[in-house]
Subunit: 127 residues, 2 copies
Amino acid sequence: MKNTKQRKVVLDIINNSDKHLDAFGVYKLARISISNISLGTVYRNLGSLENEGAIQVIMVDGVKHYDKIIPHYHFVCKKCLKIIDVFDLEIPRLKEYNGNLVDDYEIVLKGICENCQKEDNYGIKRK
Amino acid sequence: MKNTKQRKVVLDIINNSDKHLDAFGVYKLARISISNISLGTVYRNLGSLENEGAIQVIMVDGVKHYDKIIPHYHFVCKKCLKIIDVFDLEIPRLKEYNGNLVDDYEIVLKGICENCQKEDNYGIKRK
DNA sequence: TCCTAAATAGTAATGATTACTATTTAAGTA
DNA sequence: TACTTAAATAGTAATCATTACTATTTAGGA
């Protein structure tokens, strides 16, 4: 594997962001450092970083969002699709189920966020 | 809401299948009953049935798969993408987190299925 | 039977992601 | 330091799941 500047920029963006960026969000930030970086390159690096376990993915509304590797979960608001980090949640995990090797849990809490519970915020999506 | 035959066929397909069909899989089966049913109609009904809580969704590789409402979880093999039902798993659930109302947990176990652990099955996806 | 809003069929459009290809480059080797 | 080469990139085209659109049909109430 080659240690390219594109790869380093993509990884740094994820590790330094407190947002949960999708590929295009990473691309927009990456262009600040490398003005002609290709969107395909961003996708490829996000994919390989995910496979290596260097970053993690959370799926929201059919779109992959990326996050650094810090043990935590996510809450996703069904109305505005906002992603909120969830810490201090203990969930017991199987290592194996019926002969199938389990090495990962994808856990997403879903519901209505505090803001959207106020009735005048109905239906406003902030992606 | 109108009680159309298309809606009934879609719901029956989910409730009578032990597979985890995606929209196109439902469409193919639905055409046996209604030969000119539209793919868009299948999507619309799957979406509304999901919103009403009549069926549930599991996301695999960026594609929605549908399942009946029976309390259980899923294991997804990272290699072949097979979905395996997981019963008898107790996971404690919050009702609320920092003022956010939690009414649903999306939980997917991921790993390598029994079959794919045999080395001669590497890389074969069965979608 | 009539009426009407809702659902449908068929098709086009969208949007995230992947594939393709000529060019560039990281990194090992002489 | 220059050479070599496989891997990565930029730019673009293609794919594919899903949604949007519109004329037509239909469920269900009056």
